[in-house]
């Protein structure tokens, strides 16, 4: 179903007006970015890119199957202040087996 070397997280903003700026930051950092809908957009990339951006400690949390939040401390302050959370979700509880 998915390329397991690839990680995807949802960047949730507290200021929708900053969407293009924050999205641009992650695109420049080498992530694929999804459309901004509601309060969030997706960032997708290889595990190494997440570790480069969010620190090596993020690597172990990305191995979890439960939802986790990534630290924003490694992101520049002007970008981080528009971010509410960066969440890696878990698989659904029902639907696909």
């Amino acid at each position: 179903m998915a390329d397991e070397g690839t990680i995807s997280a949802q960047v949730i903003l507290n200021d929708a007006g900053a969407a293009s700026e924050v999205c641009g930051f992650f695109a420049t950092a080498g992530f694929e970015t999804g459309p901004f809908v509601g309060t969030s957009f997706a960032i997708t990339g290889p595990r190494e890119r997440f570790e480069e951006t969010f620190g090596a400690a993020a690597g172990s949390s990305l191995a979890e199957t439960r939802p986790v939040e990534l630290p924003t401390s490694a992101v520049p302050d002007d970008v981080a202040e528009a971010i509410e959370a960066i969440a890696v979700g878990g698989p659904p509880d029902f639907g696909p087996p």
Partner: protein, 432 residues
Amino acid sequence: MITRAKDRLRRAGFDVLSSNRLTINIAGSATTYQRAFGRTLKTVEREILKERRERGPVTFIEVEGTPVPGLIDTSESALADVVEGVAIEEPAVYYAAPRPFPPKVDYWHLEVPGDVSLALNADVVHREGITGSGINVVMSDTGWYRHPFFERRGYRAADALLGPGAARPAKDEVGHGTGESANAFAAAPDIEFRMVKNGHVNLTGGFNAAVGLGPDVISCSWGYDIRNGPLSAANQALAAAVAQALADGIVVVFSAGNGHYGFPGQHPDVISAGGTYMDRDGKLRASNYSSGFESRIYNGRKVPDVCGLVGQVPAAAYIMLPLEPGDDIDATSYGGNHPERDETKRDDGWAAFSGTSAAAPQIAGVCALIKEACPALGPIEIRDILKRTARDVTEGTNAHRERAREGRDLATGAGLVDAEAAVRSAKRRCGP
């Protein structure tokens, strides 16, 4: 355990391709296997019957010193505590595409499109020329395989769009998305369909991608089991995306759950899809496989709104659906005896299943019929029409032990959707 095993396998130099609860699919060089498990691999040529009944040699990979062909014994390796054994894949031979006709099995079940269409009262609507034409329906699920069932009927579907982290757009390794999509075509055969194939862990990103396509209807046959709040950050983002879709005029249908407290199936802005079982005499009863409850997250929100057709416990093996031969569902539900198994052949590209996963695309299809009949209607008006025109279900108990009774209830909401009554109501709203 699976997570730990995958991590260890990666550290041993393997690429982890996919996994489920019991197995992990890995790839690596012969040297990587030999280093990790201490076994030597060799190639062996064997003659087999190949495509078009031609005999010829095929290369198999074998393991030295094992009594079972293709099995690597891991018991003396450093990975023995997380990997019970490694099975080397054999070259597959594809004899033919799956058949467009469903297999015949000897128990009461529904076929697509005919039985599902008839049971939803959609046939008479189709005869009046309302078929979902020009209405864009997007599903967010495991992918979509071009099964001959779809191709031979001339159903219109664009190639799947990859959601975040997803790969292989022409494949549906699980089979869930392909199979359940047949329910939408049964209700509305002329919709313009597209699948957003989800990766493993970012369903919100996949849903956002569906919203980004700007369809008329989004159907989601999945969810999280959430009884109490507060919602996690990720689920708050998903809730906000659902609200945005509604604000954009998109009808969003979510499964209520199969005994779960389904989220976003309990979100106030969705059409929450529950389950009704129809027996061979056409009698309706609440599906005891399907959810129905009062939300503790959204005050006053009752789930479901309306129902589609869903089977009964233990496995809801009720609707014979097409899927990719050999995918997860095909490989796990075949054979045996109904109701535990579906009695189909392994890798035949068909399986009997349902759940509220089937109800959501059925209802999405009926929404497409309503939208075609009266394009001016918005999501809330369409939900209101579905609820006012549904067939009341007064018997049976759902998975949460809620009993069906006259009028709206937590067992089936307003009851089974009635395409004919709903489209008539929509036409009255739009005028001649």
